[in-house]
Symmetry: C3
Subunit: 263 residues, 3 copies
Amino acid sequence: MNNTATILDLIRTKSPLVHNITNYVVMNNTANGLLAIGASPVMAHAIEEVEDIVSISSSLVINMGTLSKKWVESMIMAVKKAKTSGTPFIFDPVGVGASKYRMETAQILIKSATPDVIRGNASEIMALAQLASISKGVDSSMDGQDAVAGGIELSKKLNNTVIISGAIDYIITGDKISTIENGSPLMSKITGMGCTATAIVGACIAVENDMHTAAIAGMGIMGIAGDMAASASKGPGSFQVNFIDALYLLNETTIKAKLKLND
Amino acid sequence: MNNTATILDLIRTKSPLVHNITNYVVMNNTANGLLAIGASPVMAHAIEEVEDIVSISSSLVINMGTLSKKWVESMIMAVKKAKTSGTPFIFDPVGVGASKYRMETAQILIKSATPDVIRGNASEIMALAQLASISKGVDSSMDGQDAVAGGIELSKKLNNTVIISGAIDYIITGDKISTIENGSPLMSKITGMGCTATAIVGACIAVENDMHTAAIAGMGIMGIAGDMAASASKGPGSFQVNFIDALYLLNETTIKAKLKLND
Amino acid sequence: MNNTATILDLIRTKSPLVHNITNYVVMNNTANGLLAIGASPVMAHAIEEVEDIVSISSSLVINMGTLSKKWVESMIMAVKKAKTSGTPFIFDPVGVGASKYRMETAQILIKSATPDVIRGNASEIMALAQLASISKGVDSSMDGQDAVAGGIELSKKLNNTVIISGAIDYIITGDKISTIENGSPLMSKITGMGCTATAIVGACIAVENDMHTAAIAGMGIMGIAGDMAASASKGPGSFQVNFIDALYLLNETTIKAKLKLND
């Protein structure tokens, strides 16, 4: 088996508990994406229980799509707990360039505990790398390649793995860069596909210790399911349905035949 | 007509207002499930209005999937109001064994006002019955039958109806036990199917005074719609779509032909 | 091109950022509806960033479906900022008659800054016009025509545009009344279709300065997509999927052929 197929298989066998502190818009999609690949999602954000839930989970997903004070407190508590309990965690800096508050929150979170993986679009990664600080909402308005230099800088500074998603996905760990060219333009016409990608990488880091390998698997799974769904869809409505079916039906044969990985 | 068909018919005729204080992940599914069977959902959680909304509603659904302090305050206020206004209410103790906070919240809620019906999976019902206190997130990792003893104990202690859902659903009122064997394994691959079951039973108790009969109707409607949807679906994405259609299309003939009730 | 087709074309070309402060139940649908027509949705409600987000957005959508204290504070801050920054905004008074709190909140919001457009069902518009104050939850139990007098009064008092949606949609600006007769009864069997209508009108006011014309375009787009989706659907589950596809596939030809506008 190739690594991606092995990791998907491990997720289906172990059904790891993936703790999500994420935004209101995509919670449902994220949970269904995780269930479709065989993981076991839990959503919990109360300060009273967030440490308990981190401690029984196999990985943690932090997504700042719809921030507020109480949620940021819980996120900080959760990422600190993740570090002490050795729980791998991934951070999704949604719309980080869109407001000062998001920029500050991202910085506080990263200072509280270094994410094992960060996934964003080109604008978000560039904002984080402080090469650029203007973002048009939560969409990417830049080309992935422009952000690669920022991604390398960020990955070296944090000694972690950085994913820049887009038409081409870049997986960056220091000087090591892998690219994936799967996926469909329809994916940008549905809310929360980036967030789902983050959650699926979150499931991969729950079963694979090498973050770069896990990140490739997560983005590969997303992209291939996107390819399969797009070819059967009339628009973003049917795409969404077909995408969840594709995640569920994905297997070793499909992964081997379709993964466009440049490693 | 059998009872389940009669109850569905009453829901469609009366279109009862069902007040939901539920979790962020499933609100949309829950509302759509209720609309599909003909009920009228309202979601309201603000302390400033929760009593007003209970007082105009025909039933109340309390689901603790994504807890926090303010929401718990509203839930307590709502269940107390339900008791004084004679509004039947159902409680879904989502992931009750997963943290101390959830266990405490469930206890406070039950002490504030006894739920007319409780619906959970085997782990949750066992946790509530304090026969077991370990839960793997929000999924059931136990067999329904293991939890039946706990369910009977709980039902007798609270003098109410307890539903244990799973491959076999158990509806327990004291020593009276009914089982339903409809439904599909695909239902565990979509988030919020348990929560939707709770809401649909919530619609049934709005139109039927006998809680055991109402609980059978709700779980029967869920299971039959699940059977119908599964046979037409490729995976959990299409299942979700077909499930809502099936709820909408369900009629007396289908219910009579398909309900696997052991009463 | 007719106005509606021109406006849809402008949305697709400019991809305006539409800021939504809306309810938990429909956030996902609303975002997907906006993406399907080519707009760029952003959801942000924190007091710390709400003004920043308004100032980079082309329009603002305020929906009070699931209220609470903090959210109301943010809504007030957002609408005031919208006025000073010249950002057009639309208000959706969900379930305004259902509780005192909703009635008070609606009044505070309207006093803080007059909405450029208000969209509600007949009960909600009548409640706002204080001709009636009883609402059955969030559904309309009145005929649109009964509310037209209230809508005219409200529009004149506020000097803005009022939309009463239903089997017939009424777009009212002072004494000017236009009607649209597109759409399907299935739309009332899915949660959040009214909220999606509000958001889509929100995208139209981002690209068209004449509020009456923008409101017609938004309601026309909704209704035609509803017609197209209904004819291909078995129930509300498949309707939802087909509706998003229809929004995405809508073009000048379809609009010209199908729009039932009485202007």
